[in-house]
């Protein structure tokens, strides 16, 4: 009901490095803070000090334990990993959240591919959130409209900010440096190179929406495979007793 641009000039998006994300929520809170007072806000909170506080968050961090079910749970026996997985709008190329929109409030920008919602024309019907396979849309129960990640569109083009700050708030704040922003449609961009180098992937491509954001998978953990290479030699002494070991050091002299 709402049409997508045939193509977009750029494909702005996020690249998130799961190898170093420690699940600290810095990105989620910085996002909340910027957008609550920004063009995509406010991001309402309900029962903020009550029994069941809930609110609008454009970026949420999920955590999973993978590949370790039932393992010994201890070093040397566990192959499992804990993975933190930040999730926000993927700014899909074929965004069905846009095409299902009955009013045209949901739209994808032709110039950079950012998917936005026009709150003035949104009727809060929630069709878009049903269409989104990533659960990335956030219904604001106070304003009764749909809200979502804007890629900080009011930061990244903001002439009032120093150029270095013209990146999404989540990228700017990430303490481990796990979040990157750029044009994923440009094969020569830094983010495209990162995706190429680290075999980055889009989430659930089989769903057919063409997510633009990319995740860099955890690197292979270097735990046991090194073992053979670095095992310490057997003792250099024939006799393993401490006395014998010490004797070998009597002449080990270093000038002060």
């Amino acid at each position: 009901m709402t049409t997508l641009p045939k193509s977009t000039g750029r494909k702005l998006g996020l690249v998130i490095d799961l190898d170093i994300c420690v699940g600290c929520h810095a990105c989620a809170v910085a996002c909340k803070e910027w957008n609550d007072g920004g063009s995509g806000g406010p991001l309402s909170d309900l029962a903020a000090y009550g029994a069941d506080p809930t609110g609008v968050w454009f970026n949420r961090i999920h955590s999973y334990e993978v590949d370790g079910a039932g393992s010994g749970g201890c070093g040397g026996g566990s192959s499992g990993q804990t993975v933190y997985f930040p999730k926000s709008c993927m700014h899909c190329e074929t965004a069905e959240c846009v095409t299902v929109c009955p009013t045209g409030a949901s739209y994808k920008r032709e110039e950079d591919g950012i998917v936005l919602v026009d709150a003035e024309t949104c009727i809060g019907c929630k069709l878009c959130s049903w269409a989104c396979p990533y659960g990335a849309r956030e219904y604001d129960q106070v304003d009764r409209v749909m809200k979502k990640c804007t890629l900080c569109v009011d930061r990244i083009y903001n002439d009032a900010l120093p150029e270095i700050e013209r990146v999404p708030a989540c990228v700017s704040t990430c303490p481990v440096g796990a979040r990157h922003f750029g044009d994923l449609g440009d094969p020569d961009s830094a983010v495209s190179a990162l995706v190429e180098d680290r075999k980055g992937y889009g989430l659930m491509p089989e769903a057919g929406y063409g997510p633009v954001n990319r995740y860099l998978p955890p690197r292979a953990r270097r735990d046991r495979e090194q073992a053979a290479a670095v095992t310490l030699p057997a003792d250099l002494c024939d006799d393993l007793s401490p006395d014998n070991r010490l004797l070998k050091w009597v002449d080990r002299l270093f000038s002060r």
Binding site: A30, E33, L240
Partner: protein
């Protein structure tokens, strides 16, 4: 109307709307990290807070706590005026009073105490960052009964480091993130240096270095480790011993480093039973001796141009035998009792894993040394063309600290670093200025009976570093002089004091009763106390004979309605961190990094809209009302009428050395030492509220023996001498206590403490079972119970925060899936944890990434109903819980002060020693956590967040 229209399609102009009309810099206070922040204001209200790119701590990033600071500013839990108790203590019934009245009540009481017996004031501060002022204030008042919260936080890390390296993990050092090839982190470390560690881990992994996490729980930093070692809590010392064993066995030792920079070659007298057995053999002028391996002669160990023997006995001039400290060290850890096989069962780590890890460490240290192409000069004036490093680094924090064996375990890690030559070398642990300090740092604490005189200040600071039994703060019968019993035979090296014992001891009148307890930001009736319920009882208990409270008067300062507020007689409301000045001083806990010294300030961003005052201003005001020396002039007029900013600028601790190091001197060009500069704070504000002095490259490594650095440190006023610092593989200080316990010298422990002192004051690291474990029947409490720090929360402070509590508003008991199956516990079951001391009930969650014998939960999520501005049915209260209810400040068995639940060396609260058993709750018990307490009255939050953008919210 709705404010969302600005997301509409999209005139370029709308996308360039200036987000702020004013930007002020300051320093974050949402945890102990102290990052630089830029606070953006629009029409006088806070629009957003972000990291300051220029700031040395965080380089522009900011964590989830820091970004949520905006919501703390609008918290409904903020106190709004001074309060006087009108109901029973603990009822939470108060009346609002004015500041003059509140301060007069407190000042008149303190004046009487000071005139009679200054010890009757116990002044303890919690999670503050103002100890340079508060400790000085206590000194001027004349009470030895002062400390901050380090005794239950990290004193084991600080003390073990300072007594071994002259620096420590904690906040006094950091890994060389740039050059390290192998990084091992022990235990929970998510709260201190939070952003520098996150920045560092990202960098380290980007370089392809290996990151090993030794932690019973695989969350947070452990989640991104290349290898997770889910060790059994409290057994880390054995693991480190086994690594040392492996390195010794396979001859992977940096002998040159040991010979030059440590006391490994120093000769130790071997004369069992003698008064100097185990002390260093010394020459006529007290100089330590070593044996020249070439000539066999005994020489001054501190001189150069000889090659000391590291093994082999020597004969002293008096015919007695002495052996190098290294030999004692090597013999102990080569013993098969410290082999990987021997420690595997206790640590829960397979022997082959330990052996492999030792091999990896050895490979990283010795096969891939780092060479930094910078010439440097050692302490003797010898020039070295390059800096050669061992790229293996370690970091440890609370997981090691909060055990009764934590001091020795931390020391063991430092000895491992020495063995590898991995101390302040490229790629290793590095000091942050003003560290390293002499070992131990000077001076010892003041507070002997003779030091405490009515109406007089103490002759020195109440906290310090004990050098031997003669420095202890005990009377002639051996009884402690301090209310917390720090620096007594109970806890001789209690460098941070023992806040966790104050209320129990004051209640018992042991060693003496006090009159007034003055506390700042210390939530002692809740998550800052072991044994929270009993602490509430002690605060409200009356003497049946007199009808008076056993702790007669409690004054409490906090910005928020924490659980402790209800237990005060007078409440002095503090401001938020965005409403005041603060001083982050090199005299306190520095924000330096390894490449430079730094300090900083906070400045008021917004004006308080309540009748509140910054606690430090209040303290200066009280001091002036009391006429304390240093706070009033000869005529009795206040010396710092402008409050803390005035004190920060004009107070001098020593001539030319004040609270802040930057822009000193009349012209504002001096650093470190220099005259008072009245414009100093303006310079700080112009520079982003911090000062940093980058060290030139030749001063950045080997600083215990680096001539240029040592001279620089003296010039800056960081040390009073420029002498080199010899790292202490062997601790003669500890041996002095052991000798005293064995019957030597004029200062000996009481007979019933001799065994404990002799056992725990070993000059080389020992490992022992957690002390409380030894008192329990075998198998009664089979599981360990510990807490972890969520990175988005910092203590109780954050539960009031509308955003943070949406991320983590309740806590579960996490246990291993296999353990759950064994006990018949499924996800979401309600279960009981029972310790020798108490019980808690909460909901279970099964997981894989946890040591199979350990249960854990998040720290300080549980809240008492009615506090922190939360509604009484908040999940923090209804389902959240504290592990504190299971932990006693005393060991199981006897509630006897000498059996405190502490590390016997430092007095560190041993709250990670906890053992529990697990049972399923009945269906009727499910649904709420236990224990629950009376609902306290207090301000309640509205159901919606109050936020700067609230004015734009049209629809409710």
């Amino acid at each position: 109307m709705s404010g969302t229209s600005r997301a509409a399609r999209t005139a370029t102009a709308a996308l360039s709307e200036p987000p702020a009309d004013e930007v002020k810099t300051s320093t974050c206070y949402m945890c102990a990290c102290r990052c630089g922040i830029k606070v953006h204001l629009k029409q006088g209200r806070i629009r957003y807070i972000e990291g300051n790119r220029d700031h040395p701590v965080n380089r522009g990033v900011l964590c989830g706590k820091g970004a949520a600071g905006i919501m703390k500013q609008y918290s409904p839990a903020r106190l709004s005026s001074p309060l006087r108790r009108v109901g029973e203590r603990g009822s939470g019934e108060f009346e609002a009073i004015g500041w003059d009245e509140a301060l007069e009540i407190v000042a008149s009481r303190l004046a009487r105490i000071r005139a009679e017996d200054p010890r009757k004031l116990a002044f303890f501060t919690g999670r503050d960052q103002s100890q340079a002022l508060t400790s000085w204030w206590a000194r001027q008042f004349g009470t030895p009964n002062y400390a901050a919260h380090g005794g239950f936080c990290s004193v084991n890390m600080a003390a073990a480091g300072l007594y071994t390296l002259g620096g420590s993990f904690w906040e006094f050092g950091e890994p060389d993130w740039e050059h390290s090839r192998y990084f091992m982190m022990f235990g929970v470390a998510e709260d201190h240096a939070s952003n520098p560690i996150k920045i560092g881990l990202g960098k380290l992994k980007g370089h392809g270095a290996k990151f090993v996490s030794v932690n019973p729980v695989r969350t947070g930093y452990s989640a991104i480790a290349d290898e997770w070692l889910g060790i059994r809590p409290g057994s880390d010392g054995l693991f480190v011993f086994a690594i040392i064993h492996e390195l010794l066995r396979s001859d992977r030792v940096d002998f040159a480093f040991l010979s030059r920079y440590t006391n490994a070659p120093w000769l130790v007298i071997d004369d069992p039973g003698a008064a100097d057995h185990g002390l260093f053999a010394r020459g006529a002028d007290g100089e330590p001796l070593a044996r020249d391996g070439e000539s066999g002669a005994l020489v001054d160990a501190t001189t150069t141009n000889f090659s000391p023997s590291l093994v082999g006995a020597a004969t002293l001039a008096d015919g007695r035998r002495a052996v190098p400290a290294f030999e004692l060290f090597a013999r102990r850890y080569l013993d098969p009792a410290n082999a990987p096989e021997a420690v595997a069962a206790e640590t829960g780590l397979p022997a082959e894993t330990i052996r492999r890890v030792a091999g990896e460490i050895a490979e990283a240290a010795f096969e891939s040394e780092v060479v930094v192409d910078v010439p440097w000069t050692d302490w003797t004036g010898r020039r070295h063309e390059t800096m050669i490093g061992r790229p293996v680094s370690f970091h440890a924090m609370r997981g090691i600290s909060a055990h009764s064996n934590g001091f020795h375990t931390c020391r063991a890690i430092h000895l491992l670093q020495m063995l590898l030559g991995a101390v302040d070398a490229p790629g290793s642990f590095r000091y942050r200025p003003p560290y390293p300090q002499s070992i131990p740092p000077a001076p010892p604490p003041a507070g002997h009976r003779a030091d405490v005189r009515p109406g007089q200040p103490l002759p020195g600071m109440p906290l310090g570093f004990i050098r031997g039994p003669e420095d202890l703060l005990i009377d002639e019968t051996g009884k402690p002089e301090r209310i917390d019993k720090a620096f007594s035979w109970d806890a001789p090296l209690a460098a941070h004091g023992m806040m966790h014992m104050v209320i129990a001891n004051a209640h018992a009148g042991d060693p003496y009763p006090i009159d007034t307890l003055l506390m700042f930001m210390a939530n002692m009736s809740w998550n800052s106390a072991m044994n929270a319920a009993a602490t509430m009882e002690k605060l409200t208990d009356r003497d049946p004979e007199t009808g008076e409270y056993r702790i007669p008067f409690v004054v409490y300062s906090d910005a928020f309605n924490s659980e402790m507020v209800a237990y005060a007689d007078i409440v002095l409301p503090d401001t938020t961190y965005l409403e005041r000045h603060d001083c982050i001083s090199l005299l306190d806990r520095p924000i330096s990094d390894a490449d430079g010294a730094a300090d900083g300030i906070r400045q008021p961003i917004v004006t308080p809209d309540r009748d509140v005052r910054p606690f430090q201003d209040v303290l200066l005001d009280l001091g002036a009302r009391l006429g304390l020396p240093g706070l009033v002039d000869e005529a009795g007029a206040p010396l710092y009428p402008g409050g803390l900013p005035d004190y920060m600028t004009r107070h001098e601790r020593r001539p030319g050395v004040g609270m802040l190091s930057g822009w000193r001197g009349a012209d504002g060009k001096a650093e470190g030492r220099g005259a008072v500069n009245p414009d100093q704070l303006d310079r700080y504000k112009e520079n982003g509220c911090f000062w940093r002095q980058e060290l030139t490259p030749e001063k950045r490594y080997f600083r215990f023996a680096n001539r240029d650095y040592l001279d620089h440190a003296e010039g800056m006023g960081w040390r009073d001498v420029a002498t080199p610092i010899t790292l202490e593989l062997y601790s003669e200080t500890l041996q002095k206590f052991r000798l005293a316990a064995e019957g030597h010298g004029p200062h000996q422990p009481p007979d019933d403490m001799r065994e404990r002192i002799a056992a725990h004051f070993d000059p080389l690291p020992i490992w022992h079972q957690q002390l409380s474990d030894a008192r329990l029947g075998k198998g009664d409490y089979p599981f360990h119970a510990i807490t972890q720090r969520p990175m988005v929360m910092y203590h109780a402070w954050d539960s009031q925060n509308a955003w943070q509590r949406q991320i983590l508003g309740r806590n579960r008991i996490y246990l291993h899936r296999g353990l759950g199956e064994r006990l018949g516990i499924a996800d979401d079951d309600w279960i009981w944890l029972t310790s020798a001391h108490g019980r808690v009930r909460a909901q279970a969650r099964l997981m894989d990434g946890v040591n199979p014998d350990t249960v854990w939960t998040w720290n300080a999520i549980g809240k008492r109903r009615g506090t922190w501005g939360l509604s009484p049915d908040a999940p923090e209260s209804r389902e959240g819980f504290l592990l504190n209810h299971l932990i006693s400040e005393f060991l199981p068995g006897t509630p006897d002060a000498k059996d405190a639940n502490i590390d016997p060396v430092t007095g560190q609260a041993a709250w990670y020693d906890l053992k529990v058993r697990i049972e399923k709750a009945t269906p009727e018990e499910a649904g709420t956590s236990w224990p629950q307490f009376e609902i306290l009255p207090g301000p309640r939050g509205e159901h919606r967040a109050v936020h700067p953008s609230a004015g734009r919210r049209g629809r409710a």
